[in-house]
Symmetry: D2
Subunit: 288 residues, 4 copies
């Protein structure tokens, strides 16, 4: 990977936005590698992602020139440097397929991040964490967990502590089977990615494969999305489906679904790490 800067912009649409941004970058000598923009005509919004090489480019000079211009144009913006590595925590429970997949990709160099923290409410993932040399924290959630009482609150307090200690930027729920409290979620806006094992909005909530099987669908799906305070309702990042038939029993759905979940979650994580996702309302723009 080269050393690059990425500018992400989200603002009201108006004439001249591309000219302004690209002109300013040109003045500062930027060698643009990728540029993409999108307009949501209905919402009147403009989105842009530009990536450029940092050779002979003074980031701070650009930043100070750009800041007042962006303010003037009511831009929400972030300037990311590829040299600043995102710090990721993985949350997992007893199903390890997404977790094992992410760890393999991480080790193979597919995920441009650090993973200094794994949190689980089950001990099953420990061996893999040790193999990859990543600290694994077994944070148990008491029997009151499901009812939202002290067990979960205490667990989330401990989780938050760990996340802060490790200065985590992004939480990936790799089939983590606990519902996070609204308080917890609100602390990490657009910073928690979950995988749900259905093509949302079908089969929101528990046991989607069981319900897909009962309904007799001919496709099963998987969805990765940002977590918001409403269950399975956050902005969708990626979805995919696979064909099933009457020959597939419930266990076949679960098995075929696992392959979907791994791919759909890992794509979302990879895109997030490349700063390719902008979310607004219940939607995402995923720049390719």
């Amino acid at each position: 990977m080269n050393n690059t800067a990425i500018l992400l912009i989200d603002c009201p649409d108006r004439k001249g936005l591309v000219a302004t941004v690209s002109g300013l970058l040109y003045e500062h000598g930027a060698n643009i590698i990728h540029a993409d923009q999108h307009q949501d005509h209905e919402a009147g919004l403009f989105f842009m992602r530009v990536e450029w090489a940092l050779e002979d480019f003074d980031v701070e000079a650009f930043r100070s020139r750009f800041t007042p211009i962006a303010a003037n144009l009511q831009m929400d913006w972030r300037l990311e440097l590829s040299s600043t590595v995102t710090r990721v925590a993985i949350f997992v429970s007893q199903y390890l397929h997404c977790y094992a997949d992410l760890l393999y990709r991480y080790k193979a160099g597919e995920l441009a991040c650090e993973i200094p923290l794994i949190v689980s409410n089950h001990p099953g993932g420990l061996a893999l964490a040790e193999f990859h040399g990543i600290p694994f924290h077994h944070v148990e959630i008491g029997p009151d967990g499901k009812t939202g009482a002290a067990g979960k609150a205490e667990a989330e307090r401990r989780q938050t502590e760990l996340l802060e200690e490790q200065r985590i930027d992004l939480i990936v729920l790799a089939r983590y089977m606990q519902i996070l409290s609204p308080e917890f979620v609100s602390r990490f806006p657009n910073r928690i990615i979950n995988v749900h094992h259905s093509f949302l909005p079908a089969f929101v909530g528990a046991k989607p494969y069981h319900r897909a099987f009962e309904r007799g669908v001919k496709l099963i799906g998987s969805t990765s999305h940002y977590v918001t305070e409403v269950l399975d309702d956050g902005p969708i990042i990626e979805q995919d489906v696979t064909r099933i038939s009457h020959r597939d029993q419930l266990e076949d759905l679960i098995e075929k679904g696992r392959d979907l979940e791994r791919v759909v979650l890992s794509r979302a994580v990879r895109w997030r790490l490349a700063h390719r996702i902008l979310s607004y309302g219940s939607k995402t723009v995923v720049f390719d």
Copy 2:
């Protein structure tokens, strides 16, 4: 196509079913062309489809031998002859893409049926019907149609008359935009096929593309299903999806969806005409 017989069976599962059916067919000299069976282990059900050539085969002799045996094994069964052509009515409204597609396939010989009747609550499909030489009946539905009162009742009375006159076996709703009354539906069990423009059970009801667009999904779908008294809840025959992105506006969803709808509906019709679908509960077995 050859002259064949097709036996469709649905019964409680037990040992010896395949042996019994295939033994009996062998005794009668059947030359089996296709045979397929399926067991739903959870429901304890057995499904079978056998197709054989009718050369040197005495259908009536077989039928009289088979009838008491089938009764004994609690079989629901049908014996279909490829020489008995299914009579199909198409119902359509203002969107003509599925309708035009079905008529083209019919003319090109892809659909092994007769289409002696087209019913529409709009006049738009008339020219195509005339081009293909098929009687087109414009059955208007009054302004009270939506509220379930006299307008629709009168229209359905007229539709039923037409269906009976033409001895229709199968009704295909090619984006027919009226909800059929439970009374009408109950008269044609497993004999009405609809296409819904979403991957059910997501976006049941009206304006699924609008809702898909608002939700920000990354796939749109289409579903063909048997119509039951509960809206968009009948046994699913076929589903397919296509990928969309943030670049797709509502009109792009509608345009991409049309291609899905055509394919998903025509597959269902083709399979039905080949007597390849068995439905039970909310599910279908589609033999390939």
Copy 3:
């Protein structure tokens, strides 16, 4: 559709291209609706497509400012106006599914073009042409056609005459079963779109479904591409596949393939009409 202008650019990559183009458009008051660019880093090439509304925009003033700048930057460029309707000829033979599909889409308003000419070496497509009110020319190709001798030369002379009379911009080969001579092809660079019934480069040449069936593939495909002088070797515009199994006989491949061909060809035509395709070497950039 709105009244828009579309600028397509293809040039050596260098700093400041986006800034130059977008700056110039801004100066002229363009309200940009879509903008997209692409860099082929390996080939050192830059591609851009910008579309803007023509209200209060002086196209000719822009054109005269832009021309010398583009020359300076070694740009290949075209400025297309949505008000200038592309004139399309369809070439067809005995298989009518793509042809019927294109005519239906044309009539339904999906294809932003005029179709003033149909050319066929078979009479089968006449009825549909008449139904849609489009002149149909049956240009027979003699028995020497296959060997490249006088029959084809004479036919191509007649075809060229018809194309010139009708000032055709784009030729769509809708399963036209004759190989065009290199002379004919060279007269219409990037202006002939063909559909080949395989996922190229597999099964170049004749009878791809037969060969796919013999090879025992598990997917069949379809490819739309620009025609060049080398058979089935032009820049690919779109491809798609569908799954088959051992149960599918040759006729099933042909039937399933028809649905692919229709979709893959019509997408290519639609994108071409929207000026979304740039081709270079054996590749295309298809802006979405």
Copy 4:
């Protein structure tokens, strides 16, 4: 998993085959769990797979009754017991994604086999083998390997020794980058599964992603197949594709391809372990 028997049959088609087999099984009290058959009408061949529970079933009595009947009907057949676990060797080189995927699935219980042997011409896979507790043999291939001389012959001698010591039933080439000699291949008919990183027959041979990138295809694929003496020409078991665009550079093809390869290879292995594949000529029947 239950304790079951699986009968696989391949023979000339004739009347009464299903009746004969199912009748015999019924006489012996078999409780059939799955049964499937297929006829290749063109080749005049019949294929069958039946699976039944072994409770109260005398396998040897059935085998001795069935053997002469099968001989009489010119059947090729195998009777497999789910209790006899297939012994698998994995061959791998420097690319570890398929290898890691298979080992994960093995550990997670998705693959009903034993893996007592890993062979590699690179040392890179050692750590994963140790983590999973599987003997890893680094069999180097000398610089003459590519030219087919002594280095490869010696390596294959050593590999054969290891395969025999471990009584291996199935060899899985998980991106093993050496071409096996015809002598080696002929020793393991239908017992070597390879994954090729293209949708065969496109891009046979080396560097398929490079060639796909140069050709400008819009889909990339992956194929799992039995290895025969002709390179990349064996019976195809499974294929899948994924969409790419002009935005995807060569490294993106390689990255997207990895996910395809893993899924396509693991499906083939799973089906083989379930005795669901019959191969004939260049084709496979894969019973689902």
